[in-house]
Amino acid sequence: MGMTYVQKVLAKACGKSLVAHGDVVEPEVHLAMSHENGALVMNQFAEIYKDTGIDAKIWNPDRIAIILDHRVPAESSKTATNQKKIREFVAKQGIKKFHDIRGDEGGICHQILPEYGYVRPGYVVVGTDSHTTSHGALGAFAFGIGATEMASVWALGNILNVEVPGTIKVNVNGKFPAYVGAKDLILYLIGRLTAEGANFKVLEFHGETIRKMSTSGRLTICNMSVEAGATSGIVPPDEETLNYLKNIAGIRGKIEIYGPDKDAEYEQVIDIDVSRLGPQIACPHTVDNIKPVEEVTGKKVQQIVIGSCTNGRLDDLETAANILKGKKVALGTRMLIFPASWRIYQEAMKKGYLSILAEAGAVICNPGCGPCLGIHQGALGDQETALATTNRNFKGRMGNPNAEVYLCSPEVAAASAITGVISDPRAGGR
């Protein structure tokens, strides 16, 4: 019996020719990423070395990435002090893949890793962030872990006691209709699988729609795979992956790619035809509470957010600018734009997208996680409703348990900004 993509990655990272679903393995880690919670990892790392007499040095500083993104610039003295401790640690340990609060190389961790070529096909990537699943878009087996688990990786260089997961194969075919895209596909899939339908499993994406999809779209679907509980979402690498890594990430030299075996064993196979898919909305307070946009149009929204690691890339901003050009954000609605990185911000500035959006009345915020997790900017008032291109709508998520969040594509968010109510972009954004 052949191996799934993840089985192949794990076999290579363990120096084995074969691993089977359920095997317990300890793969080598190629990249270990943290953000502000690196401060907690540092604490647990010190605990591991305490009373051992061994000098607390990271196994390989070149394989550690730390990106400040969750609360940038710091919202409080407590955060600022944590960020300062991280800077001191980074300098002491010689970590070079460190992205501080800067307008030239800063941004959200899940955007920085692909942009800087830190992730490659076949890598085992762990991150102290659940949306580390994003990097499956480049053919890595990438998954979220906790801070103590990361401290163990920093000490040892491999991740302990990983059970080889089962895989669900998702075949996606057909051409997206106008105003429908990757975000609608993943929301639809989460609704079908439910929030736990892929718990402890991997989603492996195939089909002509995926092959024709940009890396940006692939990042969106892999990013949100975790909302169905998946350990990881993966697009086996192809020409598009190589083009992205060479032309956007600037990687020189040969990049090895491979796919799953033809006779790989899958736990489940799901077929989706997107040619008749419409815009999808995740309604409060779970991401699997999915409805077609028609069922929620007319719902008044006080805040619209376009951004995050899910949908804050250049094509998302372009989509929003195209819809909002010459229009105005409705009175009584505020619109916040959070580009996923400063590179995207600068490109959107050069292409004029940011001025179109600002002229329409949107507030352009600095790249970072922003209001998505409700800790920094863009909190909601009591009984307010937000419509966002982000990835979670849990109760309390945008900083207020007495508010609600709906999730959607950039097309729906931009069309709704004009009307002030949830709107179907196919209707022309009246």
């Binding site: 317990v24 502000e36 919670n37 401060a39 907690l40 604490n43 647990q44 605990e47 591991i48 070395y49 305490k50 051992t52 061994i54 969750h70 609360r71 919202e75 409080s76 407590k78 955060t79 944590n82 991150g127 102290t128 962030d129 659940s130 580390t132 979220g144 872990i145 906790g146 801070a147 103590t148 688990e149 401290a151 163990s152 000490a155 040892l156 302990l160 006691n161 990983v162 059970e163 929030a195 736990e196 718990n199 402890f200 509980g229 350990t231 779970t286 699997d288 997790l373 409700g374 800790i375 909190a379 979670r392 849990f394 109760k395 309390g396 998520r397 900083g399 348990p401």
Partner: protein
């Protein structure tokens, strides 16, 4: 034997267990003050010290879904609560095991607040209702970490063994 002090449904996210707005607080010694912060009644009882160690939280499917924030496990560990759920989300379950928070997978559990539960190796017995519910073993890959008392001592021992080689 422990008493069920809190019952909660399916898909309880880490934003419910430990709201995102408290994420600047990191250390396990400081996180318990924000456990279930948005559930005014239960969090008040926790902070007032009215909940005995070894008390039980009963939950539905997919407990701890969402963010990987370890604070969600450390804040509950601070009160030495035991979580009996129909199932857990992967990252939360692993964080719990790593920190020594006791998690019991019990797909058919039926219990209400105030019930007394006995947790045996293979079953949860509801002493109040007489119900008996099978426990699903934790992922085998994690048992060694539980036996070591958590991931910090486990890794420490491994590190020392590697150094001796």
């Amino acid at each position: 034997m422990g008493k069920v002090v809190f019952k909660i449904g399916n898909d309880v996210s880490t934003d419910i267990i430990y709201p995102g707005r408290f994420m600047a607080t990191l250390l396990p010694t400081e996180t318990p003050q924000y456990a279930f912060a948005d559930d005014v009644e239960f969090s008040k009882k926790l902070r007032a010290g009215e909940i005995l160690k070894g008390s039980i939280v009963v939950a539905g499917q997919n407990f701890g879904c969402g963010s990987s924030r370890e604070q969600a496990a450390s804040c509950l560990k601070g009160y030495d609560l035991i979580i009996v759920a129909r199932h857990f989300s992967r990252i939360f379950l692993q964080n719990s095991i790593n920190l020594g928070l006791q998690t019991i997978i019990c797909p058919d559990i039926e219990a209400d607040e105030g019930n007394e539960l006995e947790i045996e190796p293979e079953y949860v017995q509801n002493k109040t209702t007489g119900g008996k519910f099978k426990i699903v073993p934790l992922p085998k890959a994690r048992q060694a970490i539980i036996d070591a008392g958590g991931l910090v001592p486990y890794t420490k021992a491994l590190l020392l063994r590697r150094m001796q080689k």
